[in-house]
């Protein structure tokens, strides 16, 4: 009676999510990325509580205070103050909300819209799908900065308008990726079997397609998050996105550019934070991609 094993293979008995986590947690870089990412995420949620000073309060008696590690610095102002006497550390903390937090919202929005349009494109056939594809090809070719420039020209500069621009710029790749993933799933034998059982489109979509593509969705979202963060910072730097008093990291670099000789810290640290945020997202994305690949191989 050795036809079946009482105890199934330990690895296969685990849920797909647990298998994925197992492969993910084996990679040191991915775990480090996840840690930094969680830190930034907490910062986005809690930065309003954590700031030691009001990030917009201008203190005339403390203009251009050097960082605390230099002789003239004060411990209360870890990175010093800017040319208007605002605490740099508080501004950097709040900046996480604008650069990283808004990038997350942008990606969420693009993901939801992309899922809707991508499903529509993937599940329908014929003329409708063909027109959508050609429009997507056009949209994919317009560089994101160009799209942002056009939207800013129509609506005027501002963080909210550039958010729309970046969402629109991210949308085509989501729709494209989701449509391809769905088309790939629809060709599988188990979908045909399920259809033969009498499942309708909605059941096929919610029971089979969605659970099978969520891995790809997460991957696309992490890749889009790094692009969105870089784009928001770049637009802030060019003066098209977040406007002057807002403590967005890119705009902060642009603000302190004329002080680069006197206070290089105020240029270096916001940039470093953007870099770290994007790096953590990319590390998590790479780790997820590797883990997903290994899980499928097992």
């Amino acid at each position: 009676m050795a036809k079946f094993r009482l105890l199934p293979d330990e690895q296969l008995a685990r849920s797909p999510f647990k298998q994925l986590w197992r492969e993910f947690s084996r990679q040191h870089s991915a775990i480090a990325g996840l840690l930094i990412f969680s830190l930034f995420f907490l910062l986005v949620l809690l930065s309003a509580v954590l700031t030691p000073h009001d990030p917009y309060l201008q203190n005339d008696s403390l203009l251009l205070l050097p960082p605390s590690w230099s002789q003239q610095g004060l411990v209360q102002y870890p990175f010093g103050t800017d040319d208007l006497g605002r605490d740099l550390f508080s501004r950097l903390l709040v900046g996480a909300r604008y650069t990283f937090g808004i990038a997350m919202i942008t990606v969420m929005g693009a993901l939801v819209m992309g899922l809707l349009l991508g499903t529509l494109a993937g599940m329908t056939k014929g003329l409708k799908s063909s027109v959508l594809n050609h429009l997507l090809d056009l949209a994919l070719t317009i560089p994101s900065l160009l799209l942002a420039i056009i939207i800013v020209a129509i609506l005027g500069p501002g963080l909210q308008n550039t958010t729309w621009a970046i969402m629109l710029a991210l949308l085509p790749q989501f729709v494209h990726g989701i449509r391809n993933a769905i088309a790939e799933q629809l060709n599988q034998d188990y979908v045909i079997a399920y259809r033969l059982d009498g499942a309708n489109n909605w059941q096929v979509f919610s029971r089979i397609i969605l659970p099978n593509i969520w891995e790809k969705l997460t991957l696309m979202a992490t890749m889009a998050l790094s692009t969105a963060t870089l784009d928001i910072a770049a637009l802030g730097f060019l003066g098209l996105g977040a406007q002057a008093p807002t403590a967005e990291w890119g705009a902060m670099i642009a603000d302190s550019l004329d002080l680069i000789y006197i206070a290089p810290v105020s240029v270096a640290i916001p940039g470093l934070l953007i870099f770290l945020a994007v790096l953590s997202v990319n590390l998590v994305g790479d780790g997820l991609r590797n883990a997903a690949k290994k899980r499928r191989e097992n």
């Binding site: 870089s29 050609h134 429009l135 090809d137 056009l138 994919l140 070719t141 317009i142 560089p143 994101s144 900065l145 160009l146 420039i149 056009i150 800013v152 020209a153 129509i154 500069p157 790094s226 870089l230 910072a233 770049a234 730097f237 060019l238 003066g239 098209l240 890119g250 670099i253 550019l257 680069i260 000789y261 290089p264 240029v267 270096a268 940039g271 953007i274 870099f275 994007v278 790096l279 997202v281 990319n282 590390l283 790479d286």
Partner: protein
């Protein structure tokens, strides 16, 4: 193959028509009078108003207006720039080569560094060299380009004073505008200081090209490495190894050709990102290209310029996309069947 090319050509026409419709509708969407946006004249004299609106078919329906716009675009009458009050097409012709030059050198660097390094990283995927390359690649991939440019300027221009910070060539050199490509123009010019001018232009070019090349190079490294690793697992590679070919032979005869196919396609896909990055680079290094011109146009509310810039940049990106896709199909018999 001919059928395939015809289909691509048809698609190109379709995309171009959609693009011109978009550009045309911008004339209405931008603030201000549509007639001002189309002609590029900020102050239209009252006595010319009648004649101009007849010429631009403003009294007729949108479709007639669009057809008029299309004929103007094709015949080269693109209207004036609000800022300089000169023809937009002439202005773009002067600026576009600078951007193309910058982008082309950055792409070349990304080929000549990215592909070999990616192959090296794929030889021993778990080895120390490969890990270092991957770490560098993910760093270059994550760095915000404007900050990277500022860092390099701080180190090499302000700190060490080795390289200039702005422009394409020193103001002392007078190079006539022939092709618009600086290095070619210097070779074509007959000044006695050709050698010095060349060196000077190269020194101006070094930092912007390096900054711009960072992203495509890292993308190239990552992509080549992944593609190489995937091909290396295929059974035909194992067969070739089993037949007794050395690693180098397998690499050259079987692996490389198959691994580089998706890389060709990647160039087209990354080109629009490259143009975005080129625009930012141009702003930082005061490079007189079309990207800096577009961003200046935003500050100056120069709507006709934005409209024309959209048309030119998108056409450029679409063309590059199309060419890489056709090349990909040409080299890959499997893709031709579809």
């Amino acid at each position: 193959m001919i059928l395939y090319l015809l289909r691509r050509l048809f698609l190109l026409c379709f995309v171009f028509i959609a693009l011109t419709i978009l550009a045309f509708s911008l004339g209405y969407l931008f603030p201000g009078e549509p007639l001002q946006n189309f002609t590029g004249l900020r102050h239209i004299p009252v006595n010319q108003l009648e004649q101009l609106s007849a010429e631009y078919r403003m009294d007729q329906g949108y479709i007639q207006q669009y057809l008029g716009y299309l004929t103007r675009v094709i015949s080269g009458d693109w209207g004036m720039s609000f800022a300089s009050e000169q023809g937009l097409l002439q202005e773009i012709k002067r600026l576009l080569p600078a951007t193309l030059e910058l982008a082309a050198y950055a792409l070349l660097i990304s080929f000549f560094i990215g592909i070999p390094v990616g192959i090296i990283a794929a030889i021993k995927p778990e080895g120390a060299v490969s890990k270092i390359i991957s770490a560098l690649a993910v760093t270059g991939y994550s760095i915000p380009i404007f900050w990277w440019a500022l860092l390099l300027i701080m180190i090499f221009s302000l700190g060490l004073g080795w390289l200039p910070t702005a422009g394409r060539i020193g103001v002392l050199f007078e190079i006539n505008h022939v092709t618009g490509f600086m290095l070619l123009d210097i070779l074509l010019s007959d000044t006695q200081h050709q050698h010095e001018a060349m060196l000077n232009a190269l020194r101006h070019m070094l930092l912007p090209t390096l900054v711009l090349a960072t992203f495509p190079t890292t993308v190239m490294i990552r992509f080549t490495r992944d593609s190489m690793l995937e091909v290396w697992e295929q059974s035909y590679i194992k067969t070739a190894r089993a037949k007794g070919l050395s690693r180098a032979q397998v690499l050259y005869r079987h692996a490389l050709r198959n691994a580089l196919l998706p890389v060709i396609r990647q160039i087209g896909l990354q080109f629009s990102t490259l143009i975005t990055l080129a625009m930012i680079t141009e702003v930082i290094f005061s490079w007189p290209g079309i990207g800096r011109w577009m961003i200046d146009s935003i500050y100056q509310r120069n709507y006709p310029a934005i409209q024309a810039g959209l048309l030119v940049i998108s056409t450029l990106v679409i063309t590059v996309n199309m060419i890489t896709e056709i090349l990909h199909t040409l080299f890959n018999p499997l893709a031709r069947k579809r």
